[in-house]
Amino acid sequence: MNSQLKILLIKALKFIVILAILDIGLGMGVRMLFFTQHSGKFFRMNRSFTKANADIFIFGSSRSNHHYHPEILNDELNLKSYNVGAQGQQILFQTTVQKIILNRVKPKLVILDVSPEWMYKSTEANDNLSELRPFYFRYPEIIGPVLAVQSQLQKFWLNSRIYQYNSTIVHIIYYRLKPQIDVDGYVPLFYTMTPRDSRSQILDDSLKNLNGKPKSIDTIYENALTSFLQNARSRNINVVMVYSPDYSGAKAVGNPSAERINAIGRAMEIPVIDYSDDPYFRNHPEMFNDIHHLNDQGAKEFSRQITQRLKAYL
């Protein structure tokens, strides 16, 4: 064999061994670093996967996260509730975490807070699925397929223990320095939106819509929603969909994506509670932190109102 080739192959072998050692060694380090978090979104995700035990689980995006106050639900319904809302996450994420959680506990009720645009294909939402990467090693059969939606080669890169913790360090440092308050998963917001704020945010939103690409319904999302509802059903768990209050005018009717959500709800006989255009909240802008999220005061009020409606499903 050519001597240069021999040298090269030996070098390559050494390099692969060094890479493997680094990946395992440094991988252990970053994994440990990740799981020593005491607050923040990853901490809450981990807690919901491993520890949270409640009669009511609330799934959804940041709107769910900031809108449902477990203590109020607890007081009114005499049932323990837990908020699994996660910022930027849409239906694919919800279905995945629901699977993980329901493998461990059996609540009485599952609430899915939906937004009207959830059935539209969204690269942003797909990108955000990467937040599941750090948990891949624990639930590969559940998380693997979902990450593949982002890109096929995730399967390959996920073999690296370091890659599994990609883009987590800034979060870890930030919440080490500025711990996030949460109450059983609920994260309160304390700002009160001014008329100026709402005007400029509505303007920003409409600009984004003008410049954005035309929206199309994604069948993968539709299937995921059906899956979510089915998962609860098949375990004899009650499930309810809720459109929580929104100040931006994004209504749950007259919108193809929302129509799909409602249609799926009807087909499976799942109740849909619609607060998206609720007059009470429309007339109380001071309950909002920004045009899409209620503040703590608004969340408490909304939680009070929603519990009255939920009593029918318990």
Binding site: L8, K11, F15, I18, F156, S160, I162, V170
Partner: protein
Amino acid sequence: MYFNTTQYILFLPLVVILFYLTPFRFRWLLLLAASYYFYVCWRAEFMVVIIFSTMVNYFSAILIARNKTNKRNKKIFLTIALVINLGMLIILKYLGFINDFFHEIFGIIPAPTSPLLYLIAPVGLSYFTLQSLTYVFDTYYNLREPEKHPGIFALYVAFFPLILSGPIEQSTHLLPQFRDKARAKLKSVNIEEGIKLIIWGYFLKLVVADRTSIYVDAVFGNVDRHGGITFIAALILYSFQIYSDFAGYSCIAIGSARLMGFDVLHNFNRPYFSQSISEFWTRWHISLSTWLRNYLFNPLSYYFMRKLQKERYLKIIKPELLTYAIAASITFLMCGIWHGANFTFIIWGSLHGFYLIVDRIINKKGGNRVLNIIITYILVLFAWIFFRSENVHQSLTVIKAILTHPGSLYIPFDSDVVAPVYAVLGIFILLMVEVKREFFNNSFSLSGNKNEYIRMASYGFMIFLILYLGVFDASQFMYVKF
């Protein structure tokens, strides 16, 4: 295919392995096929342009060489070649812009509605056109014999590591390498150097460039809303974005070529450590500035120098200074135009030309190194305003904001806030490495260490940083647009 896709990561090793398995005689064919495949992955129609360009230059060089002694004929063939090459470039890239310009200024020519005016320029056109022209010029200046083998010449034009965004090679440097049998032998040092460059390139692209772009795009996408402080922050991030994007691309290109034993000209040499704009242009986009100096600046300065020497009335200004001013202005105007069909690029280029002329007039030597670096960086940063803005109006808005209302630092909403922090982290690591290389080059080196285990561990650590901090969805290399 872009460099940061799985496609390329599979394509490259495959080509390299096939390269060493192929007998030397047929390697040009393998590389040419690979290069054309690489190019077709972009758009099959673009192939027409590359093949046409290749044929024009191939025959021009042969005709020029045949007329070695006949100065007039030689000039004619050179001119024809120049007209066709530059004509193609102008029509495919600038026609829409020129049409708009005449329409606005003179009102003639009806409003641009024909789609033909906005033909999409084949990717890499600006690059391989210049690379091919070095060949034609070098033959004209008797610096080399024309390449008789059409396949090898075609390879020189389309060589896949360079085809998209350079470095712009010189025919006297790269073309002979394709015939060099000794160079083509497998050497483990080439593989190691190639991989080292590629890893560093991916670090620059995935850890630094891709993170910075999010904040920069958000700020420049909404110019009327931001204050001076935000713009300064965005500009600083942009300066690192454009550097790491382009330098990262270049490193991957050079590293890929190196895997096969080819030595490609370097494109960047830690440009922001330059102590003057003059020095900046010896460290930034080196292959382009070399091209401009050899084929535009030098010929222009010799021409004007001779003409001006005869003028008697030039008592106040020295003829060599005036020569420099004219040659530099024209050269940098062309440099600006080459970068794109927009007035912002023209202003950017002319601004650099202006900097150079003023620098020459002041002619200050020495001074504090750090201060020189800072001043030069600020001048470059100011020019980047034009380069980044979509139009002149935007640039002026930015400048006005910086000068008149600082405002407060824009902190993006929700998840977008994370990206700039990663960007700063990446830039910090980048600076650590570059400062070490620039100022402490003789002390202990990790990646250049004699001990191979230390070297390999340093490469591995770089890969760790890429996996831990990098962005993994395929976003575009910026310079490919040119």
